[in-house]
């Protein structure tokens, strides 16, 4: 497949607006501006584009949820938080082709009749925030953005907004709170952002890669886009492969290649002397998959059928050198650190799971630990929390416990009881000998 999203990678001076224009850039926007916003949405609907941010929600459908007759302002937010471990694709688009993203943002904004768009980018991406600001300034200067977008009577301002280090701000309602200048506490849904979003106004939140698909849907047509992959799982996809493969990186492939093709052909297989042990198909929040599942198609429906999810397309590959209990503990630390703390099952559960996993690794596992972990995970998922971070923590950890029970058993069989530990008790309580605090 010829690259669509990574067309500019390796092209000299690819970030400059002249390079982009010379390659036919902004033609999609030009075409969109001659159409009704509804017709633009219809085209995206027909392409069957599904969101690349994690949930795979049909993009055109999301746009139709914005109330048309709403009198006040509406907003488009581009989610460039790229915070899911194992995901590093949006950065690639911004690095090589920022105007592709800006064109997608402009088309999406026009389709939902928004006059302001924000790009919420993770705080660590200082370099990429600057790249975007430069590109936006170029586009303004050429009247591609601003009071009159490409000579039409449509006005659009695009602003870059930097986060400041919080995984949870990738979740759309947390992102909205953060953009409003608050702590990033997710909101209960409904109402959904498309109806009550940022500043209380209808808002569409779309991922960078999702929006970068839009220009070519306009120029080449929905049918072309839908011809890549299979029904409901269409278009080009960026797969981010990290971990123990020979050639990690971002690969643009037609949706629905198998994990075998990704790992063995494109990434050159597992590093020398080792074999595949496990892989996360869609970022660290997806249930782990095992080598017998390597022929599963890397698309939304196939991953769901296989009991996992395509998520953000971040494929984390682990070889036989990895202790899966350590992997689980590593992720538990991540989620315990990133839980915003609003919901008890997520806040306490992630901490508790982390403590148990650390204790097992310290050689003090107990026979009941795996069951306890599964119970903690069960309570943190199943819609018991405000946002899906509860599931994001529970699913990978419970899947590791279920799929690699023998690794837990091995640690636990060799375990010794934990020596009584002195708790950091309140200063006036004195030592409490024999108390096994956890």
């Amino acid at each position: 497949m010829e690259p669509v999203l990574l067309r500019a990678r390796g092209v000299p001076n690819s970030r400059h607006i002249d390079t982009y224009l010379a390659a036919g850039g902004y033609e999609g926007l030009k075409k969109a501006l001659t159409m009704d916003p509804e017709a633009v949405t219809k085209e995206v609907l027909d392409s069957e584009l599904r969101g690349r941010g994690g949930a795979g929600f049909p993009t055109g459908r999301k746009w139709t949820f914005v109330p048309k007759e709403h009198p006040g302002p509406k907003y488009l937010i581009c989610n460039a938080d790229e915070s899911e471990p194992g995901t590093f694709k949006d950065r690639e688009i911004i690095e090589y082709d920022p105007h592709l993203l800006i064109e997608g943002i402009a088309i999406a904004s026009y389709a939902i009749r928004a006059n302001t768009a924000y790009i919420y980018i993770r705080g660590e991406f200082v370099r990429w925030a600057r790249i975007l600001e430069t590109a936006i300034a170029e586009a303004r200067q050429r009247d591609i953005l601003g009071a009159s977008v490409m000579g039409s009577n449509y006005r659009l301002d695009v602003w870059v907004h930097r986060g400041a280090g919080a995984y949870i701000c990738g979740e759309e309602t947390s992102l909205i709170e953060s953009l409003e200048g608050k702590r990033g506490f997710p909101r209960l849904k409904p109402p959904f952002p498309a109806v009550v979003g940022v500043f209380g106004k209808p808002t569409v939140v779309n991922n960078v890669e999702t929006l970068a698909c839009v220009p070519s849907i306009l120029t080449r047509g929905a049918a072309w886009f839908a011809s890549i992959g299979r029904p409901r799982n269409t278009g080009p996809k960026l797969y981010c492969v990290s971990g123990h493969v020979r050639r990690p990186g971002v690969y643009e492939l037609p949706m629905g290649v198998t994990f075998r093709e990704i790992i063995e052909e494109h990434c050159g297989g597992i590093r020398d002397g080792h074999t595949l042990k496990a892989f996360f198909p869609g970022g660290s929040s997806a249930p782990v998959m095992t080598p017998d599942q390597i022929d599963v198609k890397a698309d939304f429906d196939a991953c769901a059928e296989a009991g996992s999810m395509l998520g953000s397309g971040g494929v984390i590959v682990l070889d036989d050198s990895v202790d899966m209990v350590e992997a689980a503990a590593n992720l538990a630390h991540f989620y315990a650190h990133e839980s915003c703390g609003q919901c008890t099952p997520c806040r306490e559960g992630s901490d508790w799971a982390m403590d148990i996993l650390d204790r097992i690794l310290e050689g003090h596992g107990r026979p009941e630990d795996p069951a306890t972990l599964l119970r903690i995970c069960q309570y943190a998922s199943q819609g018991m929390t405000i946002c899906p971070l509860g599931d994001a923590f529970a699913l990978p950890i419970s899947s590791i416990v279920k799929k690699f029970p023998y690794e837990f058993e091995r640690h636990i069989a060799a375990a010794t009881p934990r020596p009584p530990k002195k708790l950091p008790v309140l200063p006036w309580a004195g030592p409490r000998p024999g108390f096994d605090g956890q």
Binding site: S83, G86, T87, F88, V126, A164, E180, G181, K182, H333
Partner: protein
């Protein structure tokens, strides 16, 4: 790449902060991006951190006054996010990614090496105030693990030798 050192303004000089004309101009410009003043809070805090090196209590008060918020509200926001420094950082903040892809691809070894070489643990700084070592979560660059961010810059696919050379350069006061 040139990693710019952080020059943290000492707390004594930040007890009563007044924004100068340049800062005022930039804040006013930022306010035009949003329909509410509150929404400019993160960008204004970034501006302050760039300018003063960290977010001192006096800075919180000045920001709160400028945006019409209470200092408590601003402090609540500052402490929610990990990237705002609430104490003066060292000149170079070494932020080592600890998350899975980096951990299994050499990140753990880099971290151990840095600890040994600098003689400090996570969260600590060297006595001369040149380096500070912190463990961070996934930096969104896992394909080029192991990854370290130093101040604003990413360093990817780092070997121990490259890291050593980098630390040498930075500690000699050169801005690498």
């Amino acid at each position: 790449m040139r990693t710019v050192a952080i020059h943290a303004v000492p707390e004594e000089q930040l007890t009563h902060v007044t924004f100068d004309a340049t800062m005022e101009e930039r804040i006013s410009e930022l306010l035009t991006h949003y329909p509410t003043r509150r929404a400019a809070l993160l960008p204004v805090l970034w501006l302050c951190q760039e300018r003063y090196g960290w977010i001192a209590p006096g800075v919180i008060e000045a920001v709160a006054a400028r945006l019409g918020e209470s200092p408590a509200f601003v402090q609540g926001v500052v402490t929610f996010y990990t990237m705002f420094y609430t104490s003066p950082p060292a000149r170079y903040v070494l932020q080592v990614c600890k998350t899975l892809s980096c951990a299994v691809c050499g990140g753990r070894e880099l971290l151990e090496h840095l600890k040994a070489r600098l003689g400090i643990d996570l969260g600590e700084r060297t006595q001369d105030g040149t380096f500070q070592l912190i463990g961070v979560q996934c930096l969104g660059a896992c394909g080029s693990a192991p990854v370290i961010q130093i101040n604003d810059d990413y360093y990817e696919n780092l070997t121990i030798e490259q890291l050593d050379a980098l630390v040498d350069e930075l500690s000699q006061g050169k801005e690498a």
